[in-house]
Symmetry: C2
Subunit: 246 residues, 2 copies
DNA sequence: TTGCTGCCTTAACATACGTTATTGTCCCGT
DNA sequence: ACGGGACAATAACGTATGTTAAGGCAGCAA
């Protein structure tokens, strides 16, 4: 079940079987199960461990005093919530589930141990951190410059590619287990306008969305309307990383 | 002249004189001077070094194909542009100056050397990375949920506090050496609307802005209109960090 | 079956913000 | 002292998106 994390990291670098074993190990300890719409950790609390999502979807979010909410990031299976957070004294935002979720809570000490002895994993975790930062930056670009349909299309492309990276797509389809209200909170739009925009993408045959199942019949076309360029996901593995002994 | 970086890091932890010496050292090598509105590094290029801003303002930005531009982050004196970028093969965005700038280019090897031998610096650099990520998240919140005046007020609060953290404020004033067009690109607004919104804040006596000089007569009041909470800057230094030998 | 309840859909209307355009002001070079 | 260029300030008008409200459909409990 770490397989998602391993699969993700192997987009960046080849891991030795020892590396994989360590990762498997880490993700069987400290298991925690949550239902849908529960908080994993809340703003103001002290971060104790790094949370690894084994299954289900979660999100980072923040409320303003008057109740407006922004979803700041989506967490998918294989995602780590904030490597090294424990440097900070308290959380400045909350993390909550969107669906039922299983996580592995990796204690600080365990992380330090691993990064001391497994430089390839350390390197790969750096890569995953940097990609997450790039995703956050791209959200800034979307919210600042893209209009509703571009923004929605962009998000769907991002999620699809991230899911494909951990083996959770099936051809041109994947699950999208979130409500329109949650999409709205992530996109900085109203639910009404998210609905309108979904209809628009449907009418243009760019997406098929029935229940929780999303199909993107022509990914290139969807990328085009979003001005989506996958470079920021840094999925190009280089030759220089292929020398692990397996 | 590293003093800005040192001063910033000391908001998080006390540094030994040895630590400070190392940081001073690092920031006198690889100096580079740039004029206003020049690029430090461009999207697509391979990152070679970590850039430390010694003086002047810069920004991270990204253009869409059709010419829209989003400023993703501001860099102030004492800021490091992307510790560990060199894990990635190419830049997914550009970094450019807003004013004349002096930077120190710190080669990869130097960073690794320092973080190997000076754990307190390593720790402090982690803190600075995490704060930068928090700032990026807060921009997501602003762009997604805050209206024009809240957004502008929030940005001004952020910049003022960051400048204060590196000793670049004078009472309730600081420099704001950016054009309204640049504020617009950062805030996801048009220049016309930025202008309107500045007038609004001026009329409400929340800011005084003459030339490149910003004064915030009542920081609390400005924070209130922005729903600004400084917790995300993580400026609360803890007792546990006070044990360095100086 | 019935009737909730949660979510999606659609419509009519309101508004914050964008666009285009003009004028004003300061600074700098000659 | 003059003219040009860059930037700031305003005005008139257009539009993307928000708000409020109502109806529809599926799933679930009794």
């Amino acid at each position: 079940m770490t397989s998602h994390l391993i699969r993700k990291l192997e987009q960046f670098t080849k891991l030795s079987s020892k590396d994989k074993h360590v990762l498997d190990q880490v993700s069987t300890e400290g298991l925690r199960q949550l239902g849908a719409r529960e908080d994993i950790i809340r703003e103001g609390e002290r971060p104790q461990a790094v949370n690894l999502i084994l299954s289900g979807w979660a999100c980072r979010y923040k409320y303003l005093e008057d109740g407006r909410r922004q979803i700041i990031a989506f967490f998918l299976p294989g995602d780590l919530c904030d490597n090294h957070v424990f440097v900070l004294r308290e959380m400045d935002h909350s993390i909550g589930t969107l669906t039922p979720v299983t996580i592995a809570q990796i204690p600080r000490q365990r992380i330090e141990e691993v990064s001391l002895h497994h430089s390839r994993i350390t390197q790969a975790l750096w890569w995953e951190s940097l990609v997450n930062m790039a995703i956050q930056r791209e959200w800034t670009v979307s919210l600042g410059q893209r209009d509703a349909s571009e923004r929605l299309a962009h998000l769907l492309c991002e999620l699809f590619l991230r899911l494909r990276g951990v083996g959770l797509t099936d051809g041109d389809s994947c699950e999208l287990p979130v409500k329109q209200a949650e999409l709205a909170d992530a996109l900085g739009l109203s639910t009404v306008h998210v609905n309108r925009t979904l209809q628009e993408l449907r009418a243009a045959k760019l997406i098929v969305l029935k229940g929780k199942m999303l199909t993107i019949p022509n990914l290139e076309a969807l990328q085009d309307v979003a001005q989506f360029s996958p470079n920021y996901l840094h999925l190009d593995r280089e030759g220089r990383h292929l020398d692990a002994n397996d």
